[in-house]
């Protein structure tokens, strides 16, 4: 069924015009997921019965004419987002049997818009990883070549959308966990401004950085999903109160010859050169030329402190994680060890058994930097450098509307290539982390392929609350190019047939 190869916008329209039913679309998504699962391992839980029931409800609403703007569209949620009545594991043994008691705010928003939840996607354990290899449920593989990682931590969502199992999925981004897997899997991923998509029901990793956002194949689809995910939520104390906006509003004008006339794109010198593979640099150069053809001008600029993003992040994120993850104690929910001698032993054994190696490492780093005598040297220092990085970006955004560069320094790497060297793994997020530290929005879109045929991502960054402009710029680029329309061989109907 080709309808599921369409974008969210196209599929939602086909459903509204009753050219196919949500039950048909959902059944096809379930067939594709089952067909791809042995190779990709993109899902942790598939909810066949729940999905078909939701699809029937969507069809009824479509028949009555009171359906939401995404009615009947099958989607998947990253397994860090709570889904009422459905297992929510966070990719961890700690929550292997945890059934969420309520919906995350973004889950509820997408439900209200009419989407059909087909299942929960695989992820790095507690969203800590850049390759989806730390999941208790096994690694996810890249649909472009299963020898390679899909990126992480939202690797399952990225792989599922890239392989056309679902037209869209949710993710969360703490240091690049939406944008980097979107880049490595050849799709779009948006990290919105911190505070516009609620963290309520998102199992916390680093609360000052965690941001839910959408994965889809086009910027337009990201806008449609964001419309259902954003909005003030009093249950998240950091949710920002501001008027609702339509993030797709700037996409509707018919594009003229030079639709980006007047746009200034900043090209930071720190986003070029050393450590970046030649095919990634070439893809960025080609994109710059395309944006110029579309009418944009470019300005060279410098972000001198951006190189400290990784060390700042690896103080702040583990510090917040060590505090957030202290709630997993074996007493109230999650894994409890079978054998223990006393309460302290119960805590220690439950946590040691329930958490994997990377999660424990980050808890230990966080505990150390917050411990007596080290707080000023590490945590306070990192927060000060965070301020310097944010100031650099404000100076840059005084000179341009959009900052352009690579999302990741290379295309996807092979499974196992970086698992023994955490620092090398962390450096994969060198271009994405600043978006979280500053809280500004950033989008990864497909921008070419490596010599091995693996996707390359371009990162577009904008100032606070400029999502509509960011999405418009990407939309114009996608109107003029077709990188986003390329699909891996093992995708769509091919994977559904593989099973049949």
């Amino acid at each position: 069924m080709a309808a599921l190869d369409d974008t969210v916008a196209g599929l939602a329209q086909a459903l509204r015009e009753r050219r196919l039913s949500s039950v048909e679309a959902t059944q096809e998504a379930l067939r594709r997921i089952a067909g791809a699962q042995p190779q990709l391992n993109a899902f942790i839980t598939v909810d066949e019965d729940g999905a078909l029931a939701a699809a029937r409800d969507a069809d009824a609403a479509l028949a009555r004419g009171d359906a939401g703007h995404l009615a009947g569209v099958p989607i998947a949620h990253k397994d860090v987002l709570m889904t009422a009545g459905l297992r929510t594991t966070c990719g961890s043994r700690m929550l292997e049997r945890f059934v969420a008691p309520y919906d995350a705010n973004v889950v509820a928003g997408l439900k209200a818009a009419g989407t059909v939840l087909v299942g929960k996607t695989n992820m790095d354990e507690f969203a800590m990883g850049s390759s989806n290899e730390t999941s208790y449920f096994g690694p996810v593989r890249n649909p472009w070549d299963p020898r390679y990682v899909p990126g992480g931590s939202s690797g399952g969502s990225a792989a599922a959308v890239a392989a056309r199992l679902v037209p869209a999925a949710t993710g969360t981004d703490t240091g690049g966990s939406i944008r980097q897997p979107a880049a490595l899997s050849g799709i779009c991923g948006l990290k919105p401004t911190y505070g516009i998509s609620s963290r309520y029901g998102l199992i916390a990793f680093a609360s000052s950085l965690d941001t839910p956002g959408p994965f889809a194949r086009t910027a337009e689809d990201c806008a449609l999903l964001l419309n259902a995910m954003a909005g003030h939520d009093p249950r998240d104390a950091t949710s920002i109160e501001r008027p609702r906006e339509d993030y797709a509003r700037r996409l509707r004008d018919a594009p003229s010859g030079r639709p980006l006339e007047g746009l200034r794109i900043g090209l930071p010198r720190e986003y070029r050169g050393e450590g970046i593979s030649s095919d990634v640099s070439a893809a960025v150069d080609e994109a710059v030329a395309e944006f110029r053809r579309l009418g944009a001008t470019t300005v060279d600029l410098s972000l001198p402190t951006v190189k400290y993003s990784v060390p700042v992040y690896y103080v702040i994120a583990p510090a917040e994680a060590s505090s957030n993850l202290s709630r997993f104690d074996g007493a109230r929910y999650g894994h409890r060890a079978e054998h223990y001698t006393d309460l302290l032993d119960m805590y220690k054994k439950s946590r040691s058994e329930g958490f994997g190696a990377e999660v424990k490492r980050r808890i230990l780093v966080g505990t150390y930097v917050l411990s007596h005598g080290y707080y000023d040297a590490y945590y306070l220092k990192a927060q000060q450098v965070r301020r310097l990085i944010a100031d650099d970006f404000q100076r840059a955004f005084a000179q341009c509307e959009i900052i352009l560069g690579p999302t990741a320094p290379t295309a996807a790497f092979e499974l196992g290539a970086k698992t023994d060297d955490p620092v090398q793994m962390y450096l994969n997020d060198i271009f994405t982390i600043a978006g979280n530290l500053t809280g500004t929005p950033a989008l990864s879109i497909p921008g070419g392929f490596s010599k091995d045929g693996l996707p390359i991502g371009l990162q577009l960054q904008a100032n606070y609350f400029e999502e509509a402009r960011l999405l418009e710029v990407a939309h114009r680029f996608q109107h003029a190019t077709d990188w986003h329309a390329r699909a891996p061989e093992m995708s769509g109907t091919a994977v559904a047939k593989a099973r049949a």
């Binding site: 990784v310 109230r332 220690k348 808890i363 230990l364 220092k381 990192a382 927060q383 301020r387």
Partner: protein, 95 residues
Amino acid sequence: MALTLDDINRIAHLARIEIDAHDAAQVLGKLTAIFGMINELQSIDTTGIVPMSHAQDVALPLREDRVTEPDQHAAFQALAPSVQDGLYLVPKVLE
């Protein structure tokens, strides 16, 4: 300052994570590499820089003091490893 095995054992205890001698040695190697990277920060002059604890400068919101949550203790305790009479059961801490 170099991390030691004693540091690893101390922070593992603070974090309530059990760690055996073999794991402690491995963790020491990995954390030493991570702190090697983090220590780059020490060279930056941050005199007078106000720490940034959050992406947005928003004041903590206040709400009216009224009950908004229904009683869901049964639903939440259904998730617990061990419960009796509405209480979470843990090993005895007082004799």
